[in-house]
């Protein structure tokens, strides 16, 4: 099976390939993204609207999941919080994947000293824990989403690049690459039209699996107070800021945000594993 045969079937069906777990997981994730996008429509309150007289309330008709320590509606904050919570890891994985794929494929393609230099760089990055890089980056750039996203993208990149490099090495030795060159296609064209489509399933699986850990890492950075700044809603921030309320007997903010993180990561991992399984089966 090459990349061409499947283009006739609809894209989503080709991706899911009749795997019910994959389908269900993907469906729920799409639903989450939709909810995040439609937060302004769906949320009953503004996520930053405080109401001192209604601070720390349990769930009620007016506030479905209760209110936080400054009287903000937890349900609305959860909906709005989904945006940055999902956007952060998406950016991390997007940057890591693009840079990782480009480095891996170019290293394999050019070989020689360039390949050696890339390998060395990857080895250095490998040995530095993402959280360490993120904390240093925050010290330099300042708190907010930018520093941890850049830092974690750097930390995740070598994982994607290393897997890709070995796959690309294998693919390069295959006949079609040589054939393409013989026909007179440029290196770039061979990459784009033959190599890339063939390694795509693996990229997709790797990226999805890394998404889950990126989300957890980013939430940890926010939990440490170094990430997204209040009063912006984000799930990691909500777990951290709800801790005092939790101790004071109002568990809703930390609890709902914590559960939301776990649900998303479980779904993403499930989709990632199914994709990885499919990628393995693809010859």
């Amino acid at each position: 099976m090459t990349a061409y045969d499947v283009t006739s079937t609809p894209r989503w069906r080709r991706l899911a390939g009749g795997d019910p777990l994959l389908l269900a997981g993907a469906f729920l994730l799409v639903l989450m993204v939709l909810i995040a996008c439609l937060a302004p429509v769906l949320a009953p309150y503004s996520p930053s609207q405080t109401d001192i007289l209604a601070a720390n309330q349990g769930p009620s008709g007016a506030h479905w999941l209760g209110t936080d320590s400054t009287g903000r509606d937890i349900y609305s904050r959860l909906l709005f919080g989904a945006r940055l919570t999902l956007l952060g890891p998406t950016l991390i994985i997007a940057i890591a994947t693009v840079v990782g794929v480009a480095l891996a494929i170019s290293a394999v393609w050019f070989g020689g000293w360039y390949d050696a230099a890339v390998s060395r760089t990857l080895n250095v990055l490998f040995a530095l824990p993402g959280l360490l890089v993120a904390i240093v980056a925050v010290a330099v750039i300042g708190t907010g989403l930018t520093a941890p996203v850049v830092a974690l993208a750097l930390a995740y990149m070598p994982y994607i690049a290393r897997v890709l490099r070995s796959v690309a090495l294998r693919e390069r030795s295959l006949a079609y690459v040589e054939a393409g060159q013989l026909v007179g296609l440029s290196g770039w064209a061979v990459c784009r039209r033959h190599l890339l489509p063939n390694v795509m399933p693996i990229i997709r699986a790797q990226a999805t699996l890394a998404f889950g850990s990126a989300l957890v890492d980013l939430a940890a950075v926010s939990y440490l107070g170094l990430g997204v700044q209040p009063p912006t809603a984000e799930w990691g921030v909500m777990v951290a800021s709800g801790q005092s309320s939790l101790l004071n007997g109002y568990p809703w903010e930390s609890l709902t945000a914590g559960v939301a993180i776990v649900i998303v990561v479980v779904l993403v991992n499930m989709v990632g594993e199914r994709l990885a399984l499919r990628a393995e089966r693809t010859p």
Binding site: A127, V239, I261
Partner: protein
């Protein structure tokens, strides 16, 4: 064997030099001046300058880096600006605490991670519970786990103390470190369990296993001799990576349980621009990574006869 060890050592040294250079330069660009805070609100301009001179802030960056590197080669990691103390003597007791925590968590991961991964092979009905538990376990962030563990086992049941640090004997320290180690181990154990399950499943499906079974060998014997042996290689690799990841993971756990290890010190030191301390801790992270992955590589060679032969010849 010497060649086998030489590569990671050289690679590790290279990584340490490059990583420390990058961190050194990055931190020098971070806003905030340690001299200003150390000098206090009433320092005169001259006092401030004298202090900057004393801290070496006025020298050019390359010179400062090289003098630091020179010191490290002689075993001198410099002074901590905020604790006004040698970095080595500052880190030694904390490193011990972090090491205890990491080793305990690592043991938990070995026992529960691999054990859980083998359960489905013991009985088919256990497959789904294991899948469910490990999928959930992988997804629980360390700080959420810490919150839940403290609430249940320390406050509700009172089995373990809240604080992770203790100055008592080994048994007392073990009691204090149990909850932090569980919080640290949880998601990694689940991950190792998933990998173990997957590689054992792969091996079980292989022809030679089925042949062995059809020859009438006992299930247990086949499992030990054929399945586990071959499945061990990927498990060992992942376990090696886990050990390296645990040390970084201690950053969050140490904060949540009030443990004074190198992880919690890192956060304080970065925000105080205590460069020498940050560099020393980063080096510890890198060395831990190199050692863990090298040990895993060697273990893999010893476990896998095919690789062993290749290296041996």
């Amino acid at each position: 064997m010497v060649r086998l060890l030489l590569r990671p050592v050289l690679g590790g040294a290279f990584t340490i030099v490059v990583a420390s250079m990058v961190i050194f330069v990055a931190l020098s660009f971070a806003p905030g001046d340690p001299a200003v805070t150390l000098a206090g609100p009433h320092a005169t301009h001259d006092q401030l300058e004298a202090l900057r001179e004393q801290l070496g802030e006025n020298k050019p960056l390359p010179e400062r880096y090289l003098s630091w590197l020179g010191g490290v080669l002689h075993g001198d990691f410099g002074q901590s600006t905020q604790f006004r103390q040698g970095v080595s003597s500052l880190l030694t007791p904390r490193l011990g605490v972090t090491a205890e925590l990491v080793v305990l968590a690592f043991l938990l991961i070995l026992v529960f991670g691999i054990g859980l991964g083998m359960l489905p092979s013991v009985h088919r009905y256990l497959t789904w519970p294991v899948v469910l538990v490990t999928s959930l376990g992988v997804a629980v962030p360390t700080f959420v786990a810490a919150l839940i563990l403290i609430e249940i086992f320390a406050l509700k049941l009172g089995w373990f103390p809240v604080l992770g640090s203790s100055s008592g004997g080994p048994l007392d320290r073990l009691r204090h470190l149990t909850l932090p180690a569980i919080a640290l181990a949880l998601s990694w154990a689940a991950f190792v369990a998933q990998i173990s399950r997957a590689s054992i499943r792969d091996e079980e499906g292989r022809e030679h296993v089925e042949t062995a079974l059809s020859r009438g060998l006992g299930r247990g014997q086949v499992f030990r001799k054929h399945v586990l042996r071959n499945a061990a290689a990927p498990i060992v690799t992942v376990v090696g990576l886990t050990l390296a990841g645990l040390i970084a993971g201690s950053i969050v756990v140490e904060t949540a349980f009030g443990i004074g290890g190198i992880g919690s010190l890192l956060v304080v030191s970065v925000s105080a621009k205590d460069t020498n301390v940050v560099l020393a801790i980063s080096i510890i992270f890198v060395v831990a990574f190199v050692v863990a992955t090298t040990v895993a590589d060697i273990a893999q060679i010893l476990l896998d006869p095919r690789v062993r032969d290749r290296v041996g010849s």
